[in-house]
């Protein structure tokens, strides 16, 4: 029924048209890309700027550290302890002792546990 030439003609009769909107999208995508040349030049110019910004951040960090040291609790800075670790451990021990319950005092009964009802 179907000969080779019929098959070729049927196959060749089906096609599609190009979409003009597709080209508009492609063009917009390409134009939205950063240009390689401009990007390279910009990167070169930005190197000293990035170095300057890093130095500024470093100076800021030093200033903040200095401010924290001068406003720290006196015990940490007046030379009572050999090191910062000792000062912190002493501070921690003091806090723990204050928080511990007194062993001589029996625990108080729960005022309303529900058991009396």
């Amino acid at each position: 029924m179907i000969r080779d030439d019929d098959l070729s003609r049927l196959l060749g009769a089906v096609r599609a048209d190009a979409e003009p909107a597709l080209w508009t999208r492609v063009r917009a995508r390409i134009e939205a890309r950063p240009r390689a040349g401009v990007g390279g030049w910009w990167a070169w110019v930005m190197r000293p700027a990035a170095l300057g910004a890093s130095l500024a951040v470093f100076a800021g960090a030093v200033a903040v550290s200095a401010a924290l040291v001068t406003t720290a609790p006196r015990a940490l800075t007046d030379g009572s302890y050999e090191s910062l670790t000792e000062a912190l451990v002493a501070d921690l021990n003091g806090s723990a002792a204050a928080a511990m319950p007194t062993p001589a005092t029996p625990p108080a009964a729960t005022p309303d546990s529900g058991g009396a009802r």
Partner: protein
């Protein structure tokens, strides 16, 4: 003598277009789409059978052409090169699709794929062309990807065996073999549906 005459002709319009494309001239890329956009779209829609996915494939292919143009030496024609890029992109999409459900069965495979039918020249009016075309399109959809690609490039887009081989990255012998098997399967599918 003929060599001298050819030398005087200078670059062909295609060579000029390639030279402009290599400099990333956007107008040159637009001209390629004007010249070969229909073939690129026909190939993508025939292989993917989904107009939106096909549009994405053609769009990506144009970007790849733009990016790859400086490396294109023009030894094969622009059309073959462009179609090769579209075919590669469609193959990637089909490979990804293996992990998804794929498109549902189509009632009208030509229209739903975003394709249209030109009048069939010297057609025997006794044969129901629209039904034959729809059945043929379903049969093309059922072919293995390589055979489908070969049939579309050769019979639908009219490329030579060598151009099909270039576009598919295969040897002309392999292409002829794929085409023979594909045509036999298509004729068999039509015989099963319409009889001898």
């Amino acid at each position: 003598m003929s060599d001298g005459a050819e030398a005087d002709l200078g670059p062909t319009p295609e060579q000029e277009l390639i030279a402009r494309l290599r400099t990333r001239d956007l107008e040159a890329l637009g001209e390629i789409y004007r010249l070969h956009g229909a073939a690129m779209t026909t190939l993508a829609r025939s292989l993917l059978r989904d107009p939106e996915e096909a549009a994405d494939a053609v769009e990506d292919s144009l970007l790849r052409i733009h990016d790859g143009a400086p490396r294109f030496r023009g030894e094969r024609g622009l059309k073959t090169w462009a179609l090769r890029i579209v075919a590669n992109r469609c193959r990637d999409a089909l490979r990804r699709r293996r992990f998804s459900a794929g498109p549902p069965e189509m009632q009208d495979p030509i229209a739903e794929s975003g394709l249209r039918v030109d009048p069939v020249e010297q057609w025997d009016q006794a044969m129901d062309a629209p039904r034959l075309l729809a059945a043929l399109e379903r049969a093309i959809g059922a072919l293995p990807a390589g055979q489908r690609e070969a049939v579309v490039l050769r019979d639908r887009l009219g490329l030579s065996y060598e151009e099909v081989a270039e576009a598919m990255g295969a040897s002309p012998t392999a292409v002829k073999s794929k085409l023979h098997r594909a045509r036999e399967k298509l004729k068999q599918a039509l015989r099963e549906q319409f009889g001898e």
